[in-house]
Every structure is written in C-alpha cells, then in structure tokens.
Amino acid sequence: MPEKYHISTTPVPPRLPRIGKYGIVDWREDCARCHNCVKKACVYDRHRQESAYLRTLKYSNFLFFECMGCFYCVQNCTKELLALTINSEYENLGNQYWTPEIIQTTWQQAETASVPVSGAGYRGKFAGRGFDAMWTDMSEIVRPTRDGIHGREYISTSVDIGRKPAHLEFKEGRIVSETPEILDIPIPLILDMNPPEFTLPRLEPFILEAVRMTDIIAIVDSTKWPECLNEKQRQRMDAYLPNIAFHLNSEAPEIPKDVLRKTRMVEIPDSDDALDRRAALREAVPGIVVSIRVPLNKRGVDRAVALVDQGADVIHGVADFNGNEINVKNPRFIKDMIREIHTRLINSGARDQVTLIAGGGIALPEHMAKALLCGADVVSSYLPFMIALECRLCSDCKPGLSCPAGLEAIGFDYGVGRMRNLIAAWYLQLIELMGAMGMREARRLRGDVGRAMFFEQMEEEIFGTLFGTRKQA
C-alpha cells in the first residue's frame, strides 16, 4: 500500500491584528465602578486582551475586534454601558462573491491548518448563486469508506492529469499502443497564476515552496522565470521543477529545454496554432503533459470542446476570478460551464481520455469538490492563497500603491506556512465531504452529479409538483 498522503503543519499566527466581525463599544464615562465588572467574567478573556492590546498599540489604525459575539457582557453590565457592534471593516472585506465570511475562514484555515468547526446550526442563506446552489450527497447506511476520516481506511484524493488511452493494444504479450505520460497529483488542486486584476508583489517563491512541500502543481508565468525562485531556491532548482507548470507566454523568452524536461507539465495559451505548439512541445520534451488554457468567455465552452475534438489532452478552462463567464452581460457561472463541457465531451466519447481543469471562482474547499462533481478533474485557484497571507482583497494592488496588508514585506516562513496550512485544510475538508459521500477516490467524483443536488433541480422536482412553475427571476 502506498504511503498515506499527509501534510505536516504548524500554526502560523497572523502578522496583523485580526479583523473580526464583532467588537464591543464601551462608554467608560458613565461607569458606576461597581467592582463587579462583567468584563472580568468574559469567558474568552477578550476585555483583558483588549486592554493589553491598547497598552502596547503597534497599529493605530487597527482596533481590537476579537469579540466572539456572545453578548454576555452586554447583557450583564450594571449600567448598560456596553454594546456589540459589527465591524464595518469586516463588512467591507472582499466583494459580493468573495464575502467577508470566505475571507475570514480562509485566514483561520491558513493560521491553524484545521477544519473550521462551530456549534449551533447553519446560519446562512438557504441557497445562493453558483456553488451555493448545490449540495453534496451523503451515504446513509451503505458506505464503503467506513471510518476513512479517522484513519482506518484510506481515502485517496489523488487525480491524474494527461491523456488516458481508451484501451491498450497488445501484440505477442507486449503493449504496442502509445502510453502517454500521466501526471499524478495528490489533491485535485493547482495553484494558478494571479488574475490580471491583482498585480502583486512577488509571491512565487512562497507558492513554489508550498507546492513543493505538498507535492501539488503551481502554474508560473514563463516571463517570471527564473525570478520566481529566490536565491536560495535557485541553488536547488531541480527540487522545485517537478511542481512547476510553466505557462509558456509567447512574449517571453523561451524556457530552456533542459529546464522544461525536469517539469512534468506545461501550459500554453489558447491560440489558432495552439495544437501545433502542443505537438512541437511534445516532440521537443517527450512525455510532458501540455495543457491549453482556454478563457471561458462567450466562445470558451465551444472552444474547449473543439480543442478536444482536435486532439488536445488537457484543457484548463478559466472563468474570471468571481467564477463568471468572461465579458458576457449575463454570465454563466463556472459550474454550469464545466457541466456543459463535461456533458459534451461525454457525448463525443472523449471525456474519459482527457483532463479538464477548471479555474475561476474557486474560493472554498467545497468549491473544489463541487467543481469535480460538475465534471472537472482538477481545479485551479489563486486568490485564496493570497488571502491566506492576510490580503483583504481590496483590489488596490497596483504598482506604486502600498498594500494595506503589507504583502511586500512578508517573511518566507510565514508566507510558505500560511499557504501550506491552507492547502492542508482544504485537503482535510475534501476528505470530510468525500467521507460523507462514501467516496474513497477523488477520481470518481468527476462528473458524478448523482452525488450532488442542484437547487434548481430540487425546486422543480419536489416543489414544482406542489407549487407549479417557478417564477422567472
């Protein structure tokens, strides 16, 4: 049995004061000095921590917002001097898609590398747009993984990238058909390049160290080679190359062939001659997996299917960073585009032989599982790993502007540790979902919509029989 995949983690505390959801407003001037102060009774000791924080204030622009929101002190203060408030800075985090909740949970996971756990029931909307319009299934009684989560049986999250032959041909006992190289990564996750909206300081050294530690793949713009490695990393360049997939930017100088040969995968942008470039690369670097990056714009889905028809092995379909179809007035969401590509590839009989990587809008670990259920083999993501470094997604990361989260000046161990922790937390949560589904192989999640429940479908199938047709939005 192969060694069980494991990511060793240690907590990596934040550099900056936390931007919590709640804070206590305290009107000290009316205090009765009752000597029975509820602040002393705070179960979480937050009031004392706040005092200590204010005494040694390092950041005058950060207030203390670590209240847990239990209202205990508010309700017991003898003079009603305390009030709980929602931190406006918290509410301003992110955007409509990358909500404050997503950003906060990402910070927590990057710090602890653990699965976020809380009490009471679910607090959110019944359903929403995009990935929030689907639920994953669970297996009630018959469940092959048994106690997989708790270590008795192995749940494999490995997936393959590359062409898988439909069948093998033998002659005189020997395989005569072509057996293309397949790339195996332990989690269905690739760290992508930064979206153009986020032109950031150099995060590649952290990313490449984190992917080396976790044995996944990072896509690196070839214009950044070799600066994507720091001085120390460059001395051990060979250790990093297997986890790098160069995005071969046609405007950049060519990556040396001896470097490419030590990688396992490259990516080329879609173009009219994409398939020719792919063939040339395969010839120059035998065995390398070549992915074609297809922007999921109005033509994206058709183009992805056409490329497969013409012989492409790996398609990396990328929506915008909010998961939407690019430059379309009423955009489809990434999950719907994946489903369409997947279904059309099934109909053409090519699905089992090719790899579909889906990127854009992958913000949470459940998105990874849901994208797979919709038909992707692997997902790509970038922003969560930037958020892991305490980015607030203010979108102000332009040249010349200073980053409010100070990303220009982060330490190496901090940056790598936070990214590694986040990858570990995502891995653990993927296992949680797979365990509940009774799935022991991530490969089998691909396109298994029977393990998913879609909001529109549930409404139509169940409520439709009771309440008729659904109103048009």
Partner: protein, 557 residues
C-alpha cells in the same frame, strides 16, 4: 396563570397494557405541572428592538409609569429615582399611535426612543433578530408575541424553504370552532404490532442533546418540559444521567455509533429507542465531542478518558444494508418489548429509499434530520453543504411512502431547521406527522446562536457547556418553565393556524401541501397529488377539514 389537567392516559401508566414480562423503569416517576408562569429573562439587560433613554431632565414625576401598560418604567418600592427603562418590554413604534406613548406624554420631554443599533449584530439569516426576540418573548410569557411588538418571528430571512412558504388561509375562517375543540396530539406508533400506541399531546418532541454537548440543567429542563407536555425528550448520545431517571417515561434513549451509555437497562427503561444513523448538521461524519468538553463528569457517564475528543464514527459498524438495520431494530425490540423504535437518518438524495427501507425493517418512526440541523460542534463545510434541506426531504419521503402504500403505517418526523410553530405547521403540511426541535429550546433558555458551543469552556451562557462554573448560571426550575412556556405559545400558534382552516385535529393537516403556497412559484400546480394519508387521517379525525375558498397569504412577500 394557566393550568391544564394532566391527560388521563399518561405514559407513566402504560405498564398496565404491556406484557407482564416487560422490564420497565423501577424508579418513581416525577410529574411536572403543565402550568404557564412568567419566566423573565435571566440577564440584567435584555435585548430590545427599541431602546428608551431617560435624560437628566426627568423629574421622576411617575407619569410615564402610570401610562405605560407594559411596565417599561419602574420605580422600585422605597426608591425615589426610576430604574433604567425596561426597553425590552416596550412595543416601540406601534405605541406612537396610542394615547400612552411615553415619549410624547412626558411633561419634561425627558424620554426618547431609538431603534436599537445592536439588533443588527443579533441573529443570522436563519434566526433573524425578530425570531430570537419572539422566541424569548414566548419563553417568558407562554403566549405568542403580541402583534403590537411587530416582531416577524414566524419566518427567517434565509430566502428559501420554510421562509418562502406561506399558508393559503381562507378569506373567511370557518366559524364555530373553539380552541378547546382542536386536538394537537399525534400517535407515534401507527403499526398494529401490539406495542403501545403512544400519543403525544403536541406534534413535536425534543431532539437528542448529549450530556457533554449541553449541561445537565439543560437536559433536565428539556426532559421536565416533555413530562409537562406529555411528549418526549432524547438523551442524545452521551449516556443516560441518573438524574433523568424520574422522567424515564418521557425519554428516548439514543443509540448512536459510539454506543456511549448504551446498556440493556438504558434501553429497557424508556418507551422509545432511537437509532441515530446520521445527524443533519454533519451528515455522514459522525459525532464529535471536543476534548475541552469531556470533563470528569462527562467522561464518567460515557466511560471514557477525561479530556480526549470523543468520536462517534460514522456509520454503524454492524450495518451494511437494510437487512442489517432490521437486525438492529430486532435487537432493541427484543430487549425492550414495549419500546417503539425510531430511526434517525439524514437527507441524502435517496432519502425516500432509505425511509421506505427503514419502514420495511420495522421502524415505528422515521426521523429525517435535514441538512441545516443544529449541533454542538460540526465542521462548517458540513453544515452548509452536505445533504438536502428538510423541506425537500419531507415532501419527497411523504410522497414516496404514499406511493408505496406505507405512509399510514409509520410516523414521519422531521427536524433540522424547525424553529417556530409556523415551521412545524408547514412541515406537517408538507407531509410530516410531527417534528423534533432542538435549537429553539436552547434559544428559549437564552441562547443567542453565537455558535461558540464548541469553543474553549463552551457556551458562555451556561447552556451548551459542562464547565462547572458556567453551568451555575441557569436554574432548573427556570429552564423548565421557559421551555414549558415556549411549548404553550407554539401550541397556541398552531391552534390558531388549524382554526383558520377549520381543522379539528393537527392530523388533518398532514400532507395538505395544497394549503401552502411558495412565494417563488406561480402556485399553479392544481390539485395536490400527495394527500393520500391526510385523507386517511382525516377520516379518523373528529371532523373533516374545510377547504379554503380563496387564498389569503399569511404574510406579504
């Protein structure tokens, strides 16, 4: 004060109709009076939708106190100054139209009223502030909140499920039906198998919460309220506290995968045994008591080591099939010859198949726990994403059981996001016989849903904790009364709904989805096709339901 006489056929007296060799509780049973009594909030500063401020201009003339019928302004005997206004009793803006609006009537203009800005920080989409405030009000008074409080406590803001369903009340409610004539009881054993036909007086019972996940005061308050209302509470999977034994007749012993506290005697002493296959908040993941909550007392009752996390691994190691499930049920039925068996499952895609399989294995109660159910601790990823919401599951299972001809032989009980009497009624109209409630009981005890049940020492409010210091915040009598009051208010709300439909029994409402409308649908489905068992139940009820003539929605969209 309100007093209900205890039903004649109390569960405690059930021994008379049971086989002679049946083992049952040997502990004297305690009765709890079903009496509605005020149970004021236990905090000095209760939450208020509107806050009244008294300025220094006040001359303490007492005019406001004389005017206010809600006793917002109080001057304690022997004091010359007024205490701070009890804002939570204030009806707020609706008072402006009355002649006793203190803000206008104060001769010194010393009072002002503002909307409480803190309300924004209270609650969430599923339990918005109004629903929390309404539930607290019910737990305090035993009555549904008065209309003048303008609390929308009947629906949440989740944007789907129960929150988008409304009743289609007839424009003119059928006249001549008094509250006393309306029966809210349901029968939990619908099989003719010689086991007791246990009836509960309200169509709900308390959900399983283990000692460890909640305090023993919380557990006992739930149990005592169950006695008062002739319904049930459940041990959860944490063992059976000795202090619960006086309430054996109203307890459900839960058998879950960790088998904590499961012994012959804990199965034999109760009228219902529940097999928990899965929990809605963490379907397919099993239970998890964090190490911090595994105190010496918890460890003792669970026969475990102090301080370590305790897992109830999913699923049962002995069950791979419906046949294995049947063996489970047979095991319990053999050990306790008078017990009903409930099967608690979550809501996978094939929940209908699971339900019918469980029925064929011999369960008396199919308990569906939907994806948005409560928990002491669960991975956030599970709470949000795994399994279908209960609203879908009820309708799906009900229809399937009808089609299979099994619906009137099994009790269908739903849980997982049932928060109010209106949710209960909607669940029943979708096809359930009754529901299981949990979070609402904790809210009645003062829970604010801060979700920190699992953090550190546990609930700061002493509800979901075993911390020796924190648990002392709550008194058993108070806790019992709060839940008794909540049940009373719910029953009144439920009777109000049934009365508007002219129904004499809650059983007439089962499967009557034609009485519901969905705000996101055109509601043009025509004749409801899934009301088979409702008809059969109607036949057994005292009077026939009167169909509404025209839709009159309960609330504006």
């Amino acid at each position: 004060m309100e007093h209900f006489s205890a039903p004649e056929n109390r569960l405690n007296d059930m021994g008379a109709v049971l086989p002679a060799n049946t083992v049952r509780t040997m502990v004297p049973q305690v009765d709890v009076c079903r009496e509605i009594a005020p149970a004021p909030p236990r905090y000095r500063n209760e939450f208020a939708k509107y806050v009244i401020f008294r300025s220094d201009a006040c001359v303490h003339c007492g005019h406001c106190a004389e005017l206010c019928p809600h006793h917002v302004h109080v001057r304690k005997p022997g004091y010359t100054l007024f205490a701070m206004p009890k804002s939570y009793l204030c009806t707020g803006k609706s008072c402006e139209k009355t002649g006793y609006y203190c803000i206008d009537q104060c001769p010194q203009h010393a009072l002002r009223m503002v909307e409480n800005p803190m309300i924004r920080a209270l609650g969430d989409y599923r339990w918005p502030a109004d629903m929390l405030l309404g539930t607290w009000k019910m737990a305090e008074t035993g009555e549904p909140p008065a209309e003048e409080y303008e609390l929308n406590y009947q629906t949440g803001n989740s944007g789907g499920g129960f929150d988008r369903l409304r009743f289609r009340f007839p424009e003119k409610p059928p006249a001549g039906l008094s509250d006393d004539e309306i029966d809210t009881s349901i029968i939990l054993n619908r099989r003719d198998d010689g086991r007791p036909k246990i009836a509960i007086d309200v169509p709900w019972y308390g959900g399983g919460m283990s000692f460890g996940s909640v305090s023993n005061i919380t557990q006992l308050s739930k149990a005592r309220a169950a006695v008062a209302w002739n319904t049930f509470s459940c041990t959860g999977e944490g063992g059976y506290m000795e202090r619960m034994r006086p309430y054996d007749g109203h307890m459900i012993t839960q058998v879950a995968t960790g088998l904590f506290g499961v012994r012959e005697e804990t199965i034999q002493r109760v009228p219902i045994v529940e097999f928990k296959y899965a929990q809605g908040a963490k379907p397919g993941l099993g239970g998890h008591l964090l190490g911090d909550k595994n105190t010496p007392a918890v460890a003792k009752i669970r026969e475990a080591v102090v301080g370590i996390s305790l897992f109830s691994p999913f699923p049962f190691h002995s069950v791979y099939s419906i046949e294995d499930h049947m063996k489970h049920l047979d095991w319990i039925k053999h050990i306790n010859r008078r017990a009903l068996v409930s099967t608690k499952v979550s809501t996978p895609t094939d929940v209908d198949m699971v339900a019918v399989g469980s029925f064929s294995a011999g369960t008396h109660i199919i308990h569906l726990d939907g994806g948005y159910g409560g928990t002491g601790a669960a991975p956030d990823i599970a709470k949000k994403n795994i399994a279908m919401p209960i609203e879908y599951a009820i309708a799906k299972v009900h229809k399937f059981l009808v089609d299979e001809g099994a619906r009137d032989k099994v009790a269908l009980i739903a849980s997982g996001g049932v928060r109010t009497a209106h949710d209960i009624a909607k669940a029943i109209a979708l096809g359930a016989d009754g529901v299981v409630v949990g979070t609402a009981e904790l809210v009645a005890l003062g829970c604010v849903r801060c979700s920190r049940c699992s953090a550190g020492r546990g609930c700061p409010r002493g509800i979901a904790t075993t911390d020796p210091e924190l648990v002392t915040q709550m008194d058993l009598e108070w806790g019992t009364q709060r839940i008794i009051n909540l049940y009373s208010a719910w029953r009144k709300d439920l009777i109000g709904i049934l009365k508007r439909f002219g129904m004499r029994s809650v059983r007439e409402l089962v499967g009557r989805s034609d009485l519901l409308m969905h705000l996101d649908f055109n509601n043009d489905a025509g004749v409801n096709k899934t009301d088979g068992p409702a008809k059969s139940q109607n036949a057994s009820a005292k009077g026939k339901g009167r169909k509404p003539k025209k839709a009159n929605t309960e609330q504006k969209p």
